[in-house]
């Protein structure tokens, strides 16, 4: 569900590379020629009702849906996951699985009442650099608490604010929309959250501090090009990613391309990440979204003090 968006091609590729077939797709937008590169025989619908009708007819012929992949806008994931479970399919949904922790409780119930299971894509957990980092932490002294600075700036133009992504009710805001996989990774490596403080939070950035069992993390996430470090701007780049652990930079710019395929492979082997694994990061981003920023007090990320920008639409 969702075939015309940015992330859909990675799912098409993963479905194909794991030897599976996409039998039907739905998207209100019809610019989906990309499907011909993977599944030219796939049925395609612009209206949900017709998609549903098609799947129900297939089911009546004994050709039920095995898996339903969800790459729709964030706020629709919950509804689309429920739909998949209702038709007896397993569901593979993009992150964030849902926007709020209580949605997970309700989904768990729906999962329990269905024949299917819900899986999410947490591809950072398959990234070699992250695996190495987790190993380092797991094998280090048990009481060692690391200091980490996480900086992620991925510049977006004005279109971002016109699209559903710029609406906090639909995307969950910056932390949720561009940060969820980082929070998942941090929790996965460093354990339970002990403290979650937000210093700065606007339409284009979020800066805060999270204390995990094994790390004290200052983070800064932004979609505003003006927050890029000078040297990055000078190079004409629009993305900056930095993981600084105990003053040492962790390099992980490459190795992202096949992680969706790896995620699918694991799910098909019965080794995917379910609702339980998604919970921690959903809780973190929910707490960030609903917290009141305390401003520049305490242990804040150095970029938190960057000049605040007004919303491009004056909102």
């Amino acid at each position: 569900m969702g075939a015309a968006g940015y992330i859909a091609p990675r799912h098409l590729k993963a479905i194909k590379e794991t030897g599976n077939n996409l039998i039907a797709a739905v998207d209100p937008f019809d610019s989906v020629g990309i499907m011909d590169s993977y599944f030219p025989d796939c049925s395609f619908f612009k209206e949900f009702e017709l998609f549903d009708r098609h799947l129900s007819k297939l089911k009546a012929e004994g050709k039920g849906t095995d898996y339903l992949s969800v790459c729709s806008p964030d706020y629709m994931h919950d509804a689309h996951i429920r739909y998949g479970l209702k038709i007896g399919a397993n569901v593979i949904s993009e992150k964030p699985l849902v926007l709020n922790p209580w949605n997970l409780d309700a989904l768990e119930k729906a999962e329990g009442e269905s024949e299917g299971r819900v899986f999410t894509i947490l591809q950072m957990r398959y990234h070699q650099t992250i695996l190495d980092l987790k190993k380092l932490v797991d094998e280090g002294p048990a009481d060692k608490v690391y200091n980490m600075d996480l900086t992620y700036i991925t510049s977006r133009g004005n279109w971002f604010y016109t699209s559903w992504k710029g609406d906090v009710h639909r995307s969950g805001g910056i932390a949720t929309n561009i940060g969820i996989h980082f929070y998942d990774m941090l929790h996965w490596i460093f354990g339970e959250v002990k403290k979650n403080v937000v210093h700065v939070k606007t339409h284009d950035r979020v800066a805060g501090f999270i204390e995990f069992e094994r790390a004290r993390v200052r983070y800064f996430l932004s979609i505003n090009a003006d927050t890029l470090p000078e040297e990055i701007l000078a190079k004409g780049q629009r993305i900056f990613r930095s993981f600084n652990l105990e003053g040492k930079e962790i390099e992980f710019t490459d190795g992202f391309t096949d992680l969706h395929t790896e995620s699918y492979r694991r799910i098909l082997e019965g080794d995917g990440f379910g609702i339980k694994e998604a919970r921690k990061s959903i809780q973190i981003v929910y707490d960030i979204r609903n917290s009141v920023p305390i401003g520049l007090t305490g242990d804040y990320h150095p970029f938190a003090s960057k000049k605040i920008a007004s919303h491009p639409f004056g909102w």
Partner: protein
């Protein structure tokens, strides 16, 4: 977007009903973007009275050009919008669906003093330019025999989309063929005869007589109509232009043609409404012709078995 950027221009505002447009950031991160036509129109109106200020101080004064890459049936409306907004227009092909739309647009051009340009990029392709020279340097009375075959397989999504609706796309000849018909008319001159042998949701086969050529053509979006050799090579597209029994090679050299088109337009050498007319007339006539079946000079592929519409439509 690439052509606008490569010619040193700036895209100030864009409009699309769909909002998955992150691609804009690769070219014009400062571009304003709207999903509602009214808001786009309002923005353009404000630009035209210098009421839009951008933080980088660039552009966003009065509009110079409007580029149109919307579904075919909307081109006419969007061209009119741009002209009335005081801009020149750069529009994808087919410019419009019917010849009389061109007449009406000429009126709006006169009224506004602005111009409409059409992207007809095959005319800028070096292999096609060479072909035109070859024809022009041949003896005056020489009439060439040409077979044009173009098969570009499309999945079921095509029929769900506006492209599969003949009222919106104009059908197979218009949607995937208009640039070929334009090229044929450009190279071989006026149309003297236009016969359609087979026309369906997924293919069109016919015969076109030009001043300097007799052309049998076959256009299709159905994978099953691909030659065996293409299928075996794992290809989904097949393109062949045979002239007097020998192949005219033009499979490469397409990447820069949009930029070249923009460059020509900006240099004052663009293709205007009159240049678009021949191909629009051809595709219009094909759309409304009654197929005569396998009679006369038909393309060899015209006899391929026909296929039912994937949705069962007639």
């Amino acid at each position: 977007m690439k052509a606008i950027k490569d010619t040193g221009n700036d895209l100030c505002a864009a409009y699309d009903v769909f909002d998955s447009v992150g691609i804009v950031d690769s070219y014009f991160p400062k571009c304003s973007f709207f999903t509602q036509y009214e808001l786009f129109e309002r923005h353009v109106a404000k630009m035209n009275i210098n009421a839009i200020k951008r933080d980088d101080g660039n552009c966003c004064g009065k509009l110079d050009y409007v580029s149109i890459c919307t579904p075919n049936y909307l081109h006419d409306a969007h061209i009119r919008f741009g002209l009335r907004a005081g801009a020149d227009i750069i529009c994808e092909k087919p410019l419009v669906l019917n010849p009389w739309n061109i007449d009406a647009l000429k009126g709006v051009e006169r009224e506004t003093g602005k111009r409409v340009y059409n992207v007809l990029q095959l005319r800028l392709h070096s292999a096609i330019i060479d072909l035109k020279k070859r024809v022009e340097s041949a003896p005056q009375g020489k009439i060439f025999d040409v077979d044009l075959t173009y098969i570009t397989s499309r999945g079921n999504w095509y029929y769900t989309s506006w492209k599969g609706d003949v009222r919106k796309s104009g059908g197979v000849a218009t949607n995937i063929g208009v640039h070929f018909y334009d090229m044929l008319a450009w190279v071989f001159g006026k149309v003297k005869g236009n016969i359609v042998h087979v026309s369906s949701h997924d293919r069109v086969a016919g015969f076109l007589e030009f001043e300097r050529a007799r052309v049998r053509y076959f256009l299709s979006i159905n994978y099953d109509t691909l030659p065996q050799s293409a299928k075996e090579a794992g290809k989904r597209t097949y393109r062949s232009l045979m002239m007097e029994g020998s192949e005219v090679e033009f499979s490469d050299g397409f990447t820069e043609l949009h930029t070249d088109s923009y460059r020509n337009i900006l240099d004052g050498n663009g293709f205007g409404l009159d240049e678009a007319r021949n191909s629009i007339e051809i595709v219009h006539d094909i759309r409304y012709a009654k197929p005569i079946g396998l009679k006369g000079e038909y393309h060899p592929y015209a006899s391929l078995e026909s296929t039912a519409h994937p949705f069962g439509w007639l």
